[in-house]
């Protein structure tokens, strides 16, 4: 294997690993901030216990999210030096802004939150977790604007043998990047909601800390229902943006070979990439694909054959990932709707089968998020910057295949080890429940009431 394939594999593995922890951070930080706010408002100890319990799980997960993020910044230079040199003028800016504006805020106030329980007033303490939550989401905004630029480059000219930024406003208002941001954060909220619902379901089944976990369940069900509907809504706009700006990716997502007007949608479909057609096409909905792509049943949708084979993304993984993500997305709306209904009616305990199901459903939104990234990144191939720079021209000249192989093996070993430790800790503390002694906090923060 050559350095390009190995570098891609390494970037994919390290990014996917990173993105196990990121969505939990984005969503759980908001939920924990809300819980602590409830505590400050009501003074009810249960909310403090709740904040501490989910906060601990949040922190175990957060540590890995942070450290695995550093890897990505390093890799742009280490493995993708030609890319960094070519687009650094425009791509470096959002990354540097992310560190300055968001990452500092997130890291500083997280330390503040962990250690500040006895040091500051309740309100200031709750404020610190809100700052962490806002900063993590702000961080996602800058990263996804950077990624959005790779998908749909705007605000640049090619000169001096590189892409130079000429319009910063265009880069930060890139509709592609903004849609991607909203689609990603809502997906992250679904991940966090399922995590909280699943762990709460476990404890409700065991009839432990019922009030606390029923309340957590309800919060997460509400948050999850809203988020899973919004993922879908934004996803629709996002797909239309893809159809407009990345027709080859859109054609691969839907496995559309021929350019078609009033294109139908097949509920069941399977591509035959060798013969450039679909092996299976069944349950036809007329004009639906044109409607999904351009909001009009008449519209012409570009097919894969309009692109030279060298300019097409790999169809099968993109198509399958997209279909599976869509199906999971529908399932999430259904599951969070049921969760919402049974929790509002206070009937959670009467549905042990559903509760058990929700424990096993915890990994599903993680899976959907990973599939979404496969659609986004594999679908962009063969380009690293769509239409501007090919992935094969982006890899470092100075780095050899054996070097990358070595680092790839290193990452797999290190990350594998960390994953085992992390899952072990998460499982341990999820099962253990909120058993901590809160007297020290209650004593001191009560004395510091503002």
């Amino acid at each position: 294997m050559d350095a390009v394939i190995l570098s891609r594999l390494q970037f994919a593995i390290t990014t996917m690993f990173h993105f196990i922890f990121v969505p939990i951070t984005l969503g759980l930080s908001l939920l924990v901030a809300y819980m602590e706010t409830r505590y400050v408002r009501t003074g009810d100890e249960m909310y403090l216990r709740m904040t501490k319990f989910w906060g601990k799980l949040f922190l175990i997960n957060f540590a890995l999210g942070i450290v695995t993020g550093i890897t990505l910044e390093f890799q742009f230079g280490m493995n993708w030096a030609r890319y960094s040199k070519y687009v650094g003028d425009i791509f470096g800016a959002p990354l540097a802004i992310e560190a300055t504006v968001a990452f500092f805020l997130e890291s500083t106030f997280l330390g503040f939150w962990i250690f500040g329980w006895n040091k500051v007033s309740k309100r200031v303490h709750a404020l610190s977790i809100w700052l962490v939550a806002i900063a993590s989401n702000l961080s996602a905004l800058w990263i996804l604007l950077a990624n959005g630029w790779m998908q749909h480059p705007v605000g640049y000219v090619l000169r001096n043998n590189r892409a130079e930024m000429v319009d910063f406003t265009a880069v930060v208002t890139n509709p592609y990047g903004l849609l991607k941001f909203f689609h990603t954060i809502f997906a992250a909220y679904v991940v966090a909601s399922f995590f909280v619902i699943g762990v709460s379901a476990y404890h409700i089944l065991k009839k432990r800390h019922l009030a606390l976990f029923k309340s957590s369940f309800r919060m997460a069900a509400t948050f999850g229902l809203i988020s899973s509907i919004l993922v879908f809504a934004v996803g629709d706009f996002h797909a239309k943006e893809v159809a407009k700006t990345q027709p080859a990716k859109f054609a691969a997502m839907e496995s559309l070979w021929e350019t078609t007007s009033a294109a139908p949608y097949y509920l069941i479909e399977f591509p035959d990439t060798k013969n450039e057609r679909n092996a299976v096409e069944a349950i036809r909905i007329p004009e639906m694909l044109s409607y999904l792509a351009f909001g009009s049943g008449e519209a012409r949708v570009t097919g894969l054959k309009a692109f030279a084979p060298a300019d097409r993304p790999p169809v099968l993984p993109v198509f399958l990932s997209f279909r599976a993500m869509l199906a999971l997305g529908l399932l999430f709306v259904l599951l969070t709707l049921i969760s919402f209904i049974i929790s509002v009616r206070d009937r959670t305990e009467d549905n042990p089968f559903f509760l058990r199901l929700m424990i096993y459903a915890i990994p599903l939104p993680f899976l959907a998020a990973q599939l979404g990234w496969i659609v986004a990144e594999v679908g962009r191939q063969p380009w690293i910057v769509y239409g501007v720079l090919r992935t094969s021209d982006a890899v470092s000249k100075a780095v050899t295949a054996p070097q990358v192989l070595g680092s790839l093996v290193g990452f797999i070993l290190l990350y594998g080890m960390l994953a085992v430790a992390d899952i072990y800790l998460l499982a341990h503390y999820s099962r253990k429940g909120p058993e901590e002694d809160l007297s020290a906090i209650l004593k001191s923060s009560a004395g510091r009431e503002v």
Binding site: G77, D89, G92, A96, V101, L105, T108, G116, E164, L414
Partner: protein
């Protein structure tokens, strides 16, 4: 021209502040196993840096991000040329980052010893390699039109290793002073003794570094041309002497401040000597990466300047606030009673 110079200075500031801040928590990480004899003492050490280490490390990411945004060619070539050493630094920092969080989660001796080892390795290795990397940058890397002609073993040359040792001693001294002022009882006493004892070694290595730099690098050229610049290395030397002066007077807080100034001034001594290079070529100056031939466009630099001038002071502001919130000494009772600790 103006913006490139501004970003060169900012680049120096980011590295200097990073070394000053992460310097003491890397130093404390190196010393944790040796100054903490019992589990509680070791936790004490971690908890002195607990609230701040993460925020400190972001200065590194910002230095990296700023290099990417302001000097993309340097970023691209430096990171790909130094692939293996950066990978080792990265692995070490990853291990260290999770160690703090994971260590305290189980009451098992084996588990905790394992993460203590990770904290040591994760603190020592990056410190040494940052020194080695900067030593090699001061010397210049063997690069020309064909690319880079070195490897990991090339970087471990005598001057690179000496700079690595210099960094280790600087951070150990810095970390020992931090632990002296942030704890009391046996850990503080041991740290104070160590700070006093290690200073002599630091002085010897610092003198050797300054002397060797004259022969191995071109760092002095700028100083000989503009003699007033010698104020920076003189400040470094004065601050270094200040450390032992204040230690002898038992004024450890002042000694720690001297150590902060030492690290800032040492970093700027190197950065000023480099100007206008970011990475000189040891083969042919024509292939040196300078702030002029490797920078972003004026437009990008202008935007980044605005962002930096607004947000860096804000960051400094809330980080100072955090430090002042956690300014008290950490006592054993803090970690055994509150449960709010690593």
């Amino acid at each position: 021209m103006l913006f490139q110079v501004i970003w060169f200075i900012l680049w120096g500031v980011l590295w200097a502040v990073y070394f000053m801040l992460d310097g003491f928590d890397l130093g404390a990480g190196i010393l944790q196993r040796f100054l903490g004899k019992t589990d509680t003492e070791r936790r004490l050490v971690i908890n002195t840096i607990g609230p701040v280490w993460d925020g400190n490390e972001v200065w590194l990411l910002t230095a990296g991000g700023a290099t990417f945004a302001a000097f993309p060619t340097t970023y691209a070539l430096m990171f790909s040329y130094l692939y293996t050493p950066l990978l080792i630094i990265l692995f070490a920092l990853i291990l260290r980052g999770v160690s703090f969080e994971f260590r305290g989660k189980f009451e098992s001796r084996t588990w905790r010893n394992l993460w203590d080892l990770a904290i040591f390795v994760g603190s020592f290795v990056p410190t040494l390699l940052f020194g080695v990397a900067f030593g090699n940058i001061f010397q210049g890397l063997p690069m020309d039109a064909a690319g880079y002609h070195g490897n990991l073993f090339y970087l471990l040359n005598p001057y690179g290793l000496l700079t690595g040792l210099f960094f280790v001693l600087l951070f150990v001294e810095h970390g020992a002073l931090w632990l002296t002022i942030k704890t009391d009882g046996p850990v503080s006493e041991r740290a104070a003794r160590l700070a006093k004892g290690a200073w002599g070694f630091l002085l010897v290595v610092a003198v050797a570094f300054l002397a060797y730099s004259y022969f191995a690098t071109n760092l002095y050229a700028n100083y000989l041309q503009h003699v007033f610049l010698f104020i920076i290395p003189l400040l470094a030397v004065a601050a270094l002497l200040g450390i032992i002066f204040f230690i002898r007077k038992e004024r450890h807080l002042a000694a720690f401040w001297s150590s902060c100034v030492t690290i800032l001034a040492v970093t700027f001594t190197g950065v000023t000597g480099l100007y206008p290079n970011l990475i000189p070529s040891s083969l042919d100056p024509a292939y040196s990466l300078t702030i002029f031939n490797s920078s972003s466009s004026a437009y990008t630099l202008k935007i980044m300047t605005v962002v930096a001038l607004i947000f860096v002071p804000v960051v400094i502001g809330y980080q100072i606030w955090t430090y002042s919130t956690f300014r008290h000494k950490i006592r054993e009772s803090d970690i055994t009673e509150s449960g709010e600790s690593y």
